[in-house]
């Protein structure tokens, strides 16, 4: 790396975006951070100490991480093959898959979450289907369960897993697969030794997207699992809106921020390192 790094004038093009983010997002964030670190106008770590010494906080953190990891994994399992199909097809079929992925993004999260409420309830279509094929003895409700939340959230976030993986996969030279084949590699070996490692940067980006969105989702858990189940995001919302406890709200918001930023930064550096090898 060169020691002297000059400011590129092209970077000035990002100025409007930087200013916008600074005013709309940066300032309130600083206010929030300030609140969490000030007690009665005096700087203090007391809010964090009391937050982390409360057992309930750890349950909330656990809920957040567990749900985010499960949603991310489900999105990866569903999204990778879809991205592969998208990258390997051409023409009308590819357009069809792309539309099927992108069009649902135009439907609001609230609408989707309400739709899932109907699908997941005791007399919903999932329950009818499972009892119909005999896997369930009696109708069950998935609504207001963690499973229902993970299913619904994955539905909303899966495009953000598919698209980054697809954008990396489509750039992989198809001759690499052919070269591997003529060298004697079976389709299975080709996938695990060529396509998969080369698409890792896309996977990492997709994980960062979905994890951070799942960790901070508010509407979906509110509608699909309810108040009994708290995550950092829903607790933040409740602190401000219902409990009027701004101290707690800004503390949980900062914890959530640190968690998601850590995941995004870690994956960005991982992606860069993997991208550097490809």
């Amino acid at each position: 790396m060169s020691a002297a790094r000059r400011l590129d004038p092209v970077l000035l093009l990002a100025l409007p975006a930087v200013l916008y983010i600074a005013v709309i997002y940066g300032v309130p964030l600083l206010v929030l951070l300030g609140r969490s670190l000030l007690v009665g106008g005096v700087p203090s770590l007391a809010p964090f100490i009391s937050f982390f010494s409360d057992g309930f906080s750890w349950i909330v953190i656990g809920n957040t991480v567990r749900i985010s990891v499960l949603v991310t994994l489900l999105c990866l399992v569903i999204g990778y093959p879809t991205a592969l199909a998208l990258a390997r097809t051409r023409g009308a079929m590819q357009a069809l898959i792309l539309v099927a992925i992108i069009l649902p993004l135009s439907v609001g999260v609230v609408v989707k979450a309400f739709a899932w409420q109907i699908v997941l309830r005791r007399d919903g279509i999932v329950s009818q289907f499972m009892t119909g094929i005999g896997l369930w003895d009696e109708p069950q409700r998935l609504l207001f369960t963690e499973a229902g939340l993970v299913i619904g959230a994955a539905n909303v976030f899966v495009p953000f897993m598919i698209l980054p993986i697809y954008s990396v996969l489509k750039l992989i030279d198809p001759r690499l697969g052919e070269a591997a084949a003529t060298l004697g590699a079976s389709p299975f070996y080709r996938f695990f030794k060529v396509a998969l490692p080369l698409s890792l940067p896309g996977i990492v980006t997709g994980i960062a997207f979905v994890f951070s969105m799942a960790a901070s989702m508010y509407v979906i858990p509110s509608l699909l699992i309810g108040d009994r189940f708290q995550t950092l995001a829903t607790l933040t919302g409740r602190s401000f809106l219902f409990m009027r406890n701004e101290q707690l709200g800004s503390t949980t918001a900062v914890v959530l921020l640190v968690l998601t930023v850590a995941v995004v930064v870690a994956s960005a550096s991982l992606s860069k390192r993997l991208g550097g090898a490809s």
Partner: protein, 358 residues
């Protein structure tokens, strides 16, 4: 060398894409250890034929057999046919040594054999010093060498090379041609080399298959292709030539007299009087002066100095081309000078021409 003993045999391979016939029933047979070039312009089907042999594409019709086994429907990873691609297709996430080891690992070669084999083939292509490097840190010529080492390391029955030198500059290309020839001779690999570069094909090949419009026009040694091109296409695509269309006026005892715009010329061939034909003469067979049997006169258009030789272009009647290569340009000749040209009857190539529409 040129006896195609059928180590690889392609029979009646045909392939169409939509309405376009890319391969139109190609037969090709080659012996073990032979080096054959598929030579032709882009779109002639040479790359399609290569992909069919590699198993990367299935022919609509026809059979491919290698070493006595029908492999027409066999997937590429079970064929023992390696390919060096035009863009090398090296694995960017692997080092030089890992690229060369890839095929061995994929085939489940014993662990303790992989490292020595990789070292051997990297040595063969003079890339040992680069074993630990990233692919991206290599120049085009170095990537080329790694691609060859990777393809050879698995010990393929057949090596296919798809225009591997086309991205290299001229000097490097010529050095690589000689190197590759040496390496393949050392290893004893049977190879098919796809190229549109006639010099490359003439330099490297045991035999050349000249391809045009989905067919093999001629299969022969470089000397055969050059001195006895079988079709007007082979005449025109490989090397330069004087071309004179005409009509047979007399035919007797295997000799014909052909009336052309440049004059009446004799050739050894069997045609009926009245047949339209095309006469071809290689430029180095023609001499200045009327010392030989077939004689014409033509005004000089241009002289191109090429070091050991001078290439003379003449003004020629429509549909004709007159081209002579001579060691020395006559001192008094300049553009417009009418020069006497002649050549032997035996050096006159004769091809049936399409019948002119009435």
């Amino acid at each position: 060398m040129s006896g195609g003993s059928g180590f690889l045999s392609v029979a009646g391979a045909a392939k169409t894409f939509g309405a376009a016939t890319v391969l139109d029933g190609v037969d090709l047979s080659m012996g073990r250890g032979e080096f054959i070039s598929l030579l032709g312009p882009s779109g002639c089907g040479k790359t399609t034929l290569l992909r069919i042999v590699a198993g990367l594409m299935a022919p609509d019709q026809g059979k491919v057999a290698l070493d006595g086994q029908d492999i027409t429907r066999r997937p590429p990873h079970k064929r023992d046919v390696s390919v060096v691609f035009q863009n090398y297709a090296l694995f960017p996430h692997l080092s030089v040594a890992e690229n060369v080891a890839f095929g061995l690992k994929a085939r489940g070669a014993p662990r303790d054999e992989i490292a020595p084999t990789v070292a051997k083939y990297l040595g063969l292509v003079q890339m040992s010093a680069f074993a630990g490097r990233s692919i991206k840190a290599l120049s085009g010529g170095q990537q080329q060498r790694v691609a060859v080492a990777r393809a050879l390391a698995v010990g393929p029955k057949l090596l296919l090379l798809d225009e591997p030198f086309s991205a290299l500059d001229r000097k490097l290309r010529e050095a690589m041609q000689i190197d590759l020839k040496r390496i393949l001779r050392d290893v004893g690999t049977t190879a098919i080399f796809v190229t549109h570069d006639q010099d490359e094909a003439l330099t490297m090949s045991d035999r050349i298959a000249v391809m045009y419009a989905g067919r093999i026009e001629q299969l022969g040694t470089p000397a055969e292709i050059y001195h006895q091109p079988a079709t007007p296409f082979a005449l025109g695509f490989v090397g330069l030539s004087t071309r004179l269309p005409g009509k047979v006026t007399e035919a007797a005892d295997g000799m014909v007299t052909v009336e052309t715009a440049a004059g009446s010329l004799r050739a050894r061939a069997n045609f009926l009087p009245g047949s339209p034909v095309l006469l071809g003469i290689r430029p180095e067979r023609m001499v200045i002066g009327h010392d030989k049997a077939n004689r014409i006169e033509a005004p000089l258009a241009d002289a191109a100095f090429q070091g050991a030789r001078v290439q003379l272009h003449f003004h020629a009647p429509e549909d004709s081309q007159i081209l002579v290569e001579t060691p020395v340009l006559p001192a008094d000749a300049g553009p417009g000078t009418k020069l006497k040209l002649s050549w032997d009857v035996e050096d006159t190539l004769v091809y049936p021409a399409a019948v002119a529409s009435p």
